[in-house]
């Protein structure tokens, strides 16, 4: 069976004179897997996710998505099936609804089914955002609410792979716990393939993730 994502011999450095951040790094992700990448701050966890969705460019190595080299897929098309949620959630200066429907204004997503208001309201409930109205300004939400909204927005595109970059780093314990539950639910109930990077000691309660540690420029599977 073709893996969903395969990284082969990835090498990366930030600048020409700088030392390597990744040196022949390899990773295989199959459909439905929950991958947890841990590592110290600055070890390159976020960069790894950014390279997968082509926000950064590797110097050597190949990445295959559903068997195709990602460089052969149109960037916008690739990012409509691989969704990346950044560590600091970004919102446009508009309502919650406009923010949630933002992906559907882009050409790569026009063939996708635009969710109705009712569907959005139901999702807000599932994401513990019952106190958030669709017509309120997204910029006025708390960081924890924005983080959940950003994950929700990414999911509305129905991606095949979801990349979450330190989704709880800026959150209090309660909000972090909500985000963790959402992540686990997405994997167990919807079968979503997830790669989450984190530097905190997170132990999932409902799923058994494949946990990797990023150290010495490579990924090491933790047993």
């Amino acid at each position: 069976m073709t893996p969903l994502l395969e990284i082969r011999n990835l090498c990366f450095r930030y600048e020409e004179a700088a030392s390597l951040v990744f040196d022949n790094l390899n990773l295989t992700v199959c459909e439905g897997e929950f991958i947890l990448v841990k590592g110290l701050s600055g070890s390159g966890k976020s960069t790894l996710l950014r390279i997968i969705c082509r926000l950064n460019r590797q110097i050597r190595g190949d990445i295959f998505f559903e068997g195709n080299n990602i460089t052969t897929i149109a960037p916008a098309k690739l990012r409509s099936v691989i969704s990346y949620v950044a560590q600091i959630p970004q919102m446009i200066d508009a309502s919650v609804e406009e923010n949630l429907l933002l992906p559907f204004s882009f050409a790569a997503n026009t063939s996708k089914c635009r969710p109705a208001k009712e569907e959005l309201r139901e999702m807000l409930q599932k994401f513990y955002l019952t106190d958030v109205a669709l017509n309120q300004s997204a910029l006025k939400l708390s960081i924890g609410q924005k983080q959940r909204l950003a994950i929700m927005r990414a999911l509305l595109q129905k991606p095949l792979l979801l990349l979450l970059d330190e989704p709880t780093s800026a959150l209090d314990q309660e909000s972090a716990s909500m985000v963790f539950s959402i992540m686990e639910c997405l994997n167990t109930e919807q079968g979503k393939t997830l790669i989450t990077v984190t530097h905190i000691d997170y132990k999932p309660r409902e799923v058994l993730p494949l946990t990797y540690t990023l150290a010495a420029r490579k990924l090491h599977l933790s047993l």
């Binding site: 969705c53 082509r54 926000l55 950064n56 460019r57 460089t71 960037p75 916008a76 098309k77 990012r79 409509s80 969704s83 990346y84 949620v85 950044a86 600091i88 970004q90 446009i92 933002l102 992906p103 204004s105 882009f106 050409a107 790569a108 997503n109 927005r153 990414a154 595109q157």
Partner: protein, 261 residues
């Protein structure tokens, strides 16, 4: 009545009184502009007198290559001024900007002298060089403003642009707002000039023609052509340059190449 009153050297020196006032203001209020005012004054005298002598020679010329050469010198100088103001080191914007400037300015100057004024030959220096000069000078400022704004906003809003990219936007969709604001910022001075012309200020070209004895109604027609030409050339040059340069701000994976400061 139609005789032009010459300004003697003594009267020209008397005009330096304005500079004395500016220098004194800078000194009293510690503006730190004394050096720049001095250099600016010297350059104004030197450059304009030099240009006067060169123009006297060029305007009598019937050599098309000499005229085109002068035109190219003007565009290259404008490019250096834009480069000095924009100060961008990550994105190679010089070549597309320069090529667009050459083509756009040439086309505008050709259109005005050859078609609207209808002078023969189209490169008649009395029309082609001043038209080119006005187009280049005006669009140069617009380009510098627009480019500066494009790079600044892309850097400051990099995370927002990347958010749109990760949601399936292509580089054009992700940077549309920034593109629009940059082009608008460059064009506003030209549009404002159209709003204020004849009310707030009397343009230099028209004043010059009237002072030189031309019928004001003819001078006005020329001035209208000039104002329209400036807005049109500014729009075309800014948009084309921005389209090329914006593409260069994104890599082959449509990733933002500008690093945040």
């Amino acid at each position: 009545m139609n005789q032009i009153i010459n300004i003697s050297n003594g009267q020209l020196l008397l005009a330096l009184l304005f500079i004395v006032i500016a220098q004194a203001s800078s000194f009293i209020y510690h503006l730190g502009l004394n050096r720049d005012i001095t250099i600016g004054t010297i350059r104004t005298f030197a450059q304009l007198f030099l240009m006067g002598y060169v123009l006297t020679f060029i305007l009598k010329s019937s050599n098309i290559w000499l005229i085109l050469c002068v035109f190219m010198v003007m565009v290259v100088s404008a490019m250096f001024i834009v480069k000095g103001r924009v100060k961008e080191h990550q994105i190679p914007y010089i070549v597309p900007t320069f090529l667009t400037m050459v083509i756009s300015y040439f086309a505008t100057a050709l259109f005005v002298s050859g078609l609207i004024v209808g002078i023969t030959p189209w490169w008649e220096p009395r029309y082609f060089i001043p038209a080119g000069g006005m187009v280049i000078g005006n669009s140069m400022s617009a380009l510098a403003i627009a480019l500066e704004r494009l790079f600044k906003d892309l850097r400051e809003q990099k995370e927002l642009v990347e958010m749109k990219l990760t949601l399936g936007a292509n580089y054009r969709e992700a940077s549309d707002d920034i593109f629009r604001k940059a082009v608008t910022a460059g064009m506003i001075p030209s549009i404002n000039a159209m709003m204020g012309v004849g009310l707030v200020f009397i343009p230099g070209m028209m004043s010059g023609q009237i002072l030189a004895g031309t019928d004001p109604l003819i001078a006005i027609r020329y001035q209208i052509v000039v104002m329209l030409m400036l807005v049109g050339s500014t729009a075309i040059t800014s948009i084309v340059v921005m389209l090329f340069v914006r593409r260069r701000c994104f890599g082959s994976g449509e990733e933002v190449l500008l690093s945040s400061r």
